[in-house]
Amino acid sequence: MKKIQVAAIILLAASTVFTACKKEELPTPAPVEQELITTVRLIVTNNSGFNQTFNYKVDNGFGSAAQGNVQIDDVVLAPGTEYNAEVQVWDESKSPAENITEEVIEESHHHLFIFQSTPATGAGSISFSNGSKDNENEPLNQKITFTTGAAGNGSLTVTLKHEPTNKNATTPDEAGGETDAQAIFPVKLQ
């Protein structure tokens, strides 16, 4: 009988231990979206004083499951013209906004920007040349020359690849690696 009492006491003691300390909160720290990119920014200039910035901004990071705000600028350029383009990636969820481009340039050999135009030629197209190099003199394309086609509408896809297996690729599939960002801008040549 005594043993049952002992067992009962152990049980009671244990249940107190289990329940006693449950008042304190266990607040979850705000999760950090690792290396978040919210914005792909195109800065387009030319010798005749043209200077425009086009944003492709998606609030959604990798962790969210509901559609956030989306802001996509039309890339409006003149037909048959040469432009200097620079692409930047930003994390605008932080304040002040963080320029991720610096990290990309620091690790330039592990990154590649890929530009694709639809259509590839003719009205509404853009062709690309003179892409900038990485620290091992292979393509990075953070800066590139745009040559616009005849007047018309099209689209421009800018993809940032991480650890590409082929640095000379002109499409994301050829490049291998992992897609860090992909922006599709509507193009209006007028």
Partner: protein, 775 residues
């Protein structure tokens, strides 16, 4: 290469045949109560020299065949009985009778209920210590695959979790040394953290088994049981070594047992395992970043007197695992490119080095238990503390040493149990369970799970009524579970507190009858339930292996399962024995992922998969037949079929194991005094392509389930005796034809083939120094 070694081993065996002595003795053992001679059931018998464990049947009997002449030390364990050890010299076929004394010495009703390890009548299959040792180097789940009805869910060759009758993960419970393993198995890429070398016995209970093992045991239970501590003074132990060719893996594991001469009640065991492998190889290619390293150890101290005892057990599991670089994709287009490619997109050479993505997991278990024999029965109290720390290192743009996920799960459990002595014709156990759990992330971690805590309590009773040639078992359990989660939500990541309460009854009813001496039928009806898990309630993130977003559902209700299992074990003459089991299981509120809307992220569009509930109906059968051509040549055939339906959609359930057939033939012979138990064995397995897929499969998953495949394994080995010192050696070749294949339940099926040929050399050296031997 393999052939040469095989020929070498065979000729080695043949070289010794000159003084051949046959190991063909058959021994029948009966265990009875010392005072009235009634048979004892169940009694666990362990034989040191064989490293094997037997259990008596209802008539107190078990048989050992193909035994070599020699000296054997028998140990007997049964609840309520004194531990008994005796050394016996066996030279011819014989009947042995052992008498065990009840601890009280005065009680007349002596037949004691099932031990804790053998408590349920449910369909149960075991791997003995020998079968475990014969597979050393494999993961726990891979070992269990040799049990009919058990398959694996894997992420390549290094991460695998067991699947029982189509259910896995949080729908099955794993017991590590009697303690429910709580180790953060959130997804398919989270393998159980148990060192298989800890156990000498792995068993699987198929079907719902909540009454005894607690909530969540909808699909079944995996039990990893270490052997009992040494109870006669002296030293013994074992050294296991394995070398695997495919990933150039080495495994070493050792265990030492001691019982003190001066303090006979005191025993201890020390055990440790080290394992290191590099990139593994699929036909034609190395797989980038798939190395593995494991460092595990454990210590047990026991104090065992006649009527009471106590034991403290501590184990540490520590692993580093690489994950194939090509399986983490940036968006759907990356994933499709990887699927379309016939070869791995990330090229690699062999290396032991791990890069990102990788995991580091530590699991500690501290267990203290005590028992007391009284005239009521055996009282037991068990307390356990588990600490699980999981780190995940993602691919990062900027070089860093930090892990992107640092999750800690601490669990405390307490169990009090009374295995009561016979009351009329009833035997059984009653008990209470308590659990307290906390799961926390670190500041700076990426989105995964909110912090949460949970407490639970349960009451249970399982009783058995023994008839002449039948047994009826009934069990009832009440569980209460409380959860509290702190989920950061919205733009400001405001922490919102959620509270959940679940409580439910579960039950089991089993009946077994021996129709004739050679035919036994067991029927069990059981139910189980499972509260939704934190990731099912709260997950809101990208699943990088599948390029999709998984969205938790805070309104999920508990899953509830009803399971009927009928098993027939029948022998036909002395050569053929069969084991047929048929099961059907209805699960209400079955939680699954359903594809929903696409959302635009900076990497492109992703499909959001929502956790939903439906009713599921799983029916299947496991068929086993063993045929002994003679006492040296044995063939076993197995087949397993599963039909898993979504009752509400009137459709098949996704991601269920395909049907499979297997055939094993083994030839065992003793070639001489020096070369015993020489064996050659061949295994063939055919896995069908899974054609039972939902109608909307193409919208959810791509590509279709892979083709069926055929695999062949061969093994050769034996026991070499150096004087009295045995050395077990074996050489095996898995996937001997270097077959290219993919498996539907492997998450890497999208990217790469399964591993190619793997040649394994295994050595096992048991040793024993008895200072005093029983006569």
């Amino acid at each position: 290469m393999y052939r040469t070694i095989q020929v070498f081993l065979l000729s080695l065996c043949i070289a010794y045949t000159s003084v051949a002595q046959e190991c063909n003795l058959n021994i029948n053992v009966t265990v009875v109560e010392k005072h009235n001679g009634r048979p004892l059931y169940p009694v666990v018998a362990h034989i040191d020299e064989l490293g094997a464990t037997y259990a008596t049947d209802e008539k107190g009997r078990f048989a050992i065949d193909s035994l070599c002449p020699g000296k054997y030390t028998f140990h007997f364990h049964s609840a309520g009985y004194e531990h008994y050890a005796e050394q016996v010299t066996i030279g011819r076929n014989t009947e042995l009778k052992f008498r065990l004394a009840h601890l009280e010495g005065t009680v007349d009703e002596v037949v004691i209920s099932g031990t804790r390890e053998h408590g349920l009548l449910q369909d149960r299959d075991e791997l003995s210590s020998r079968q475990v040792a014969a597979q050393s180097g494999k993961s726990l789940a891979d070992m269990l695959q040799s049990i009919n009805g058990v398959t694996v869910l894997s992420n390549g060759a290094t991460i695998a979790k067991p699947v029982i009758h189509g259910l896995y993960g949080n729908r099955i419970v794993m017991l590590n040394n009697g303690i429910r393993q709580e180790d953060q198995q959130w997804g398919g890429e989270h393998a159980p953290n148990i060192d298989p070398f800890l156990t000498n016995n792995l068993s699987v209970i198929k079907g719902a088994a909540s009454v005894k093992y607690g909530t969540d045991a909808i699909g079944g239970v995996v039990l990893a049981e270490p052997p009992p501590l040494r109870s006669t003074h002296g030293w013994d132990g074992e050294l296991n070594l394995a070398g695997l060719s495919n990933n150039r893996m080495g495994v070493a594991s050792g265990v030492v047992n001691h019982n003190f001469k001066a303090i006979p009640a005191l025993s201890f065991r020390l055990q440790g395992t080290y394992k290191k492998g590099g990139n593994y190889r699929i036909p034609g290619h190395w797989v980038a970043n798939t190395g593995v390293e494991e460092r595990n150890y454990s210590a047990t101290v026991g104090w065992k007197k006649l009527h009471y005892g106590a034991e403290v057990f501590y184990s540490h599991f520590n692993t580093d695992l690489g994950i194939y670089r090509g399986s983490h994709t940036g968006n759907e287009a990356d994933m499709l490119a990887a699927i379309r490619s016939d070869t791995p997109l990330v090229p690699a050479d062999f290396t032991y080095k791990l890069a990102r993505p990788r995991q580091h997991v530590v699991h500690d278990l501290l267990k203290a238990n005590t028992y007391l024999d009284s005239r009521w029965g055996v009282w037991r109290a068990t307390y356990a503390f588990q600490h699980n720390f999981r780190q995940e290192y993602d691919v990062q743009r900027v070089e860093t040493d930090d892990a992107q996920l640092n999750l800690t799960l601490n669990t405390q459990t307490l169990n009090l149990n009374l295995e009561h002595n016979q009351l009329w014709k009833l035997k059984g156990e009653v008990g209470v369970d308590g659990i307290y759990q906390e799961n926390v992330m670190q500041a700076g971690d990426r989105v995964f799970l909110p912090n949460y805590r949970s407490t639970g309590a349960a009451l249970y009773a399982i009783e058995r009524y023994y008839g002449s040639d039948w047994t009826l078992e009934g069990g009832l359990r009440y569980d209460y579970r409380w959860y509290e989660a702190f989920n950061p939500e919205g733009r400001n990541q405001q922490v919102v507190r959620y509270e959940y309460n679940f409580n439910s009854l579960s039950g089991t009813l089993g009946f077994t009858k021996r129709l004739r001496d050679d035919w036994q039928i067991t029927t069990t009806l059981s139910n189980a339930w499972r509260a939704p898990q934190a990731n099912e309630l709260f997950s809101a993130g990208l699943h990088q292996g599948a390029a999709r977003i998984e969205l938790g559902n805070k309104d999920l209700a508990a899953e509830r399962s009803y399971n009927l299992n009928i098993e027939s074990k029948k022998r036909f003459g002395s050569k053929l024995s069969t084991d047929v089991s048929v099961y059907t299981q209805y699960i209400s509120n079955f939680i699954y992922l359903e594809p929903g809307a696409d959302i635009l992220t900076i990497r492109g569009y992703f499909t959001v998969f929502n956790y939903k509930q439906t009713n599921a109906h799983l029916t299947g059968t496991d068929l086993n037949a063993a045929y002994a051509w003679n006492h040296k040549l044995n063939t076993t055939a197995k087949a397993s079929f599963l039909f898993a339906r979504d009752v509400m959609q009137k459709d098949w359930l996704i991601l269920m194991p395909a049907d499979r057939l297997s055939l094993n033939t083994v030839y065992t012979t003793n070639l001489s005094d020096k070369l015993q138990e020489c064996f050659v064995s061949a295994d063939a397995k055919y896995v069908f392509s899974q054609w039972r897929i939902p109608a909307n499969f193409d919208a959810i998953d791509y590509p279709r389930p892979p083709a069926g495949y055929f695999l062949a394994d061969v093994s050769v080995g034996g026991r070499i005796m150096f004087n009295k010192q045995p050395l077990y050696i074996s050489l095996s070749a898995m996937n001997i034809f270097n077959q290219r294949y993919r498996d539907y339940l492997d998450a890497f099926r999208y990217f790469i083939d399964q591993p190619g040929t793997n040649i394994v050399l295994r050595l096992r050296v048991p040793f024993s120094f008895n200072e005093h031997q029983h006569q």
